[in-house]
């Protein structure tokens, strides 16, 4: 078995457990809400239209956006709760995922239940009343059994949607089979991507077939089939949850943003903590603001951020200062505003930088952003999903008066090869990315300092600022990594795995001492 496949299997218990927990909870909750609502609505046309309308609107929101929206909402609620009752709840991961997926599961169940019940022949309903049934008996003994195939079809659709959409709960901190896909996409580990898709599809199919078995049993009155289907679902759920539940809670939780360098560094931190005798877990693939809020709320204990990100996104600064000053001001601000501790810089910068193929840059005579400005009207630029919305892009445009012919957003993985193939002319890459050297790209100078420095910094949550054991375990990483070593580690992670790259990185760090 290839090492990538072996690693994929090794992570299956944790990922599948998280996936099953979140999707099964959402489904049960969705059914518990939708079925009674649909029953209420069958005899109330006003409610029916309202429900179906609302559910349809929810369905048009892309599932990723729906999931993303629930995080800040719950964060606000948790803060309110904390203030009112003195106890908050975790707004990260499980809860927002379950709520969003629950909403998502409601439309097919609502629509099919209402359609199914309305589709029962009026003559049959009248016969039910005529033989002396109450409305409730008519529903239970006649209408529901007759509508069952349509209702079950809705439930099965909901199950498949929820299990599929649950892969998208990774960016808001819920471990799921989506971790394979997001990690795989970031580290160009296609085995992971395929494995994640296949596992999610297999799980969805299995659930669908078990539901089909229950449906057939109900229709043909084979109680054994119904029991077998139900038992199968129960065993599948319990079986998937056992590894997660039986695992003791890790002492420390490390967060990562969704890109290779973050996976490598989180793995490095995890190894340090393990070597120091602690257990550690990771929350992978969190978005920029999700991860900062998670740290502030103590839902993760530590993570690596970049000074420029905090400077612009959190401190809302748009002036640019030298590296050391930014670091100092940022540390003071984090301590003052959020009680977050900056353990220190790791020793390298991962800044945004505009880059283009070296040969092309030389041919056009472009070495700096100032020189690029004159040519930009005929060129196209690609950036990640964040870049064009960030203040430094606005600063670059304002400072140099740069206007590109075309802006394109893409996965960072595809951006570099797009630059090499000439599909785009300039990319907004990252200075610590190994592919800048690999693909022989020229990083354009920023003589007027429009882009702030992006020192990698190790942040500690307010709850852990006095946890000497944690701080001591992580101190060896401060100022220990230079940018060339980090670039190599990032490249290695793409070809092997983040944990292998982290091991290599640690041996490099020790060599230097």
């Amino acid at each position: 078995m290839s090492p990538q496949l072996a690693e994929a299997f090794a992570r299956l218990p944790a990922y599948l457990g998280g996936h099953v927990a979140v999707s099964v909870t959402a489904l049960i909750l969705g059914l518990a809400i939708s079925l009674p609502l649909a029953l209420l609505a069958t005899r109330r046309p006003g409610l029916r239209n309202l429900l179906l309308g609302t559910a349809s609107v929810v369905q048009t929101i892309p599932s990723l956006a729906l999931l993303a929206l629930f995080y800040p909402l719950l964060l606000g609620l948790a803060a309110l709760c904390e203030r009112l009752f003195g106890a908050g709840f975790s707004a990260l991961g499980f809860l927002p995922s379950v709520l969003a997926l629950t909403l998502y599961s409601m439309l097919p169940v609502l629509r099919n239940t209402i359609t199914g019940l309305n589709g029962v022949d009026a003559a049959i309903k009248e016969a039910a009343l005529g033989v002396g049934m109450t409305q409730r008996q008519s529903l239970a003994m006649v209408e529901l059994p007759l509508a069952l195939p349509v209702i079950m079809a809705g439930i099965r659709t909901a199950a498949i949607w929820v299990i599929g959409a649950a892969t998208l709960s990774t960016p808001i901190g819920q471990t799921s089979l989506g971790n394979y896909i997001f990690t795989g996409l970031q580290t160009q580990n296609w085995v992971f991507v395929l494995f994640g898709c296949a596992a999610a599809a297999a799980f969805a199919l299995l659930v669908d077939q078990l539901l089909a078995l229950m449906e057939a049993g109900l229709m043909r009155r084979k109680r054994v089939w119904v029991t077998a289907g139900g038992l199968g679902l129960l065993l599948l759920t319990i079986g998937a949850l056992i590894p997660t539940l039986s695992q003791p809670r890790a002492t420390y939780t490390i967060g990562t943003k969704p890109f290779t360098e973050q996976y490598v560094l989180a793995s490095l931190i995890e190894q340090q903590l393990r070597d120091a005798g602690f257990s550690a877990a990771t929350r992978e693939g969190l978005g920029s603001s999700v991860i900062f809020n998670a740290l502030r709320a103590g839902e993760i204990d530590a993570y690596v951020d970049y000074s420029g990100t905090i400077w612009t996104n959190q401190m809302h600064r748009n002036d640019v200062k030298p590296r050391a000053e930014v670091l100092a001001e940022m540390a003071a601000w984090l301590d003052r505003e959020h009680k977050i501790k900056v353990l220190g810089g790791l020793g390298f910068e991962n800044a945004y930088a505009l880059a283009m193929p070296r040969a092309r840059a030389q041919a056009l005579g472009i070495r700096s952003l100032a020189e690029l400005a004159g040519r930009a009207q005929s060129l196209s630029i690609a950036g990640d999903y964040e870049f064009f919305g960030r203040p430094e892009w606005a600063a670059v445009r304002k400072t140099y008066g740069i206007n590109f012919r075309e802006h394109r957003q893409m996965q960072p993985e595809f951006m570099y090869s797009a630059a090499v193939s000439g599909e785009v002319d300039v990319i907004a890459g990252y200075t610590s990315d190994g592919r800048i050297a690999q693909f022989d790209l020229a990083v354009l100078d920023d003589p007027r300092h429009a882009i702030p420095p992006y020192d990698a910094v190790l942040l500690i949550s307010p709850q852990r600022i006095n946890d000497e054991a944690l701080l001591n375990a992580l101190r060896p990483l401060v100022d220990a990594i230079d940018v060339t070593v980090m670039r190599t580690a990032n490249l290695r992670a793409a070809s092997a795995s983040p944990s292998e790259a982290a091991h290599w990185l640690w041996t490099e760090i020790q060599k230097k001492r």
Partner: protein, 266 residues
Amino acid sequence: MGTAPAVISFDNVSKSYGGAAPVLDGVSLEVREREFLAIVGPSGSGKTTLLRLVNRLIDPTAGTVRVEDQDVRSIDAINLRRRIGYVFQGIGLFPHMTVAENIAITPKLLDWDEARMNARVDTLLELVRLDRQKHRDRFPAQLSGGEGQRVGVARAIAAEPKIVLMDEPFGALDPLTRDALGEDYRRLHESLGLTSVMITHDMLEALLLADRIAVMRAGRVVAEGTPQELMSREQDGYVRELMATPRRQAERLNALTQRSAPSPRA
């Protein structure tokens, strides 16, 4: 028969929906104990509405409906329906239930015990001339039209009601089956001492099965009487027209039988 007490009575009953012309317009009618009343009239004349008033599938806009001397509005609709048999237009069997379950539905709602229900199903299958072994566990889709309507009749009388209401029970059947079923029902009516009200648009069926016939048109009862009375009495234009068809059919059949049979005078 004329002295028997009224089991069902309609007293100046009207029913209208919104501002449209009333479906029923001041109907007064009595059904006496053990009587077989047929209600005849064209579609839209208010026959089905009148029938539904009896077991409170609908309530009248004005007037009073009495069942066994009680205003139906003072009786709980569910209990009322459970003690009145109802045979629906087009069959109306529950497609997801077996023949036995369909028949036993009202007894089940009345909480009969299992043994009593089973015995009752067997008795009823015999009464409506269905094969116990062959039909008991079939589903309605597996029955012929005639078999289905026999189950419908069995279901209506399962909880031993005194009153049976039938809405065009034999309308969709072929003539042979229809005839046999009508005869069979008439026998049940006699032997069980039922009071029956049957809606039909077929005057010949009404004449052959019923003790008394009420003719409806545009929400009113325009004539009522025994088959003999309706056939002989001087009638207004509409009723005369209605009676003309069976009379002509009878005359033609008569002529046919006389022509084909060896004539005694020859």
